[in-house]
Symmetry: C2
Amino acid sequence: MDKVLLILSHGSKAESITEITYKMRDSISAKNLYSDVKVAFMEFNSPSIPEAIADICKEGAAEIIALPMFLYKGNHILHDIPKELKKAREENPYVTIYMADPIGFDERIADILIERAEGALCQI
Amino acid sequence: MDKVLLILSHGSKAESITEITYKMRDSISAKNLYSDVKVAFMEFNSPSIPEAIADICKEGAAEIIALPMFLYKGNHILHDIPKELKKAREENPYVTIYMADPIGFDERIADILIERAEGALCQI
């Protein structure tokens, strides 16, 4: 195992969150771009970020790309997640960890949002 | 003014959040599908959801589609936002409010995530 992609998800007490995160993992994994694609949750769900990184390191990865499945650079991206990654880096000194940007603005998101606005609506 | 799209953003203490939300508003607005496209923030930034709805109602909208710019159905989507929308609905009885689904799983998000993982990386 060489370069592992680690999808970072916010986590939630609501069940649907893990389903979407694992669907995203399966979809990216099917493209065979990385030696493995794993997920970690910032809070509420497991594995946590340190747990996932420890597991990946046990399997002998040389490089981890931590990829935030977050829309924008809020405090989780600017502070909380880098802190967790740094801690994991110290505990696993033989692995190189990179962090990617979050989703950010993208026209494709605008397209999806319009589809949602035209889709099933719930009257309040 | 008739059917107004109201993009609901989480909000953050980090500045970049409002920039992305307004870019999304501009991009959707440019498609001329709605009589107006507005934004509201669940927390930290203004306008809040009740403030934005009060403003839209003052301008005479008959219908508002509240569109969550959120990735998944966490507790904000299941509980917090519907509660805010119901309160706004009671305060503005002449408007019809619909709530759309959040982004959810979509192959286009997987494509964007892969681009981010192949893009600028920060070594931890």
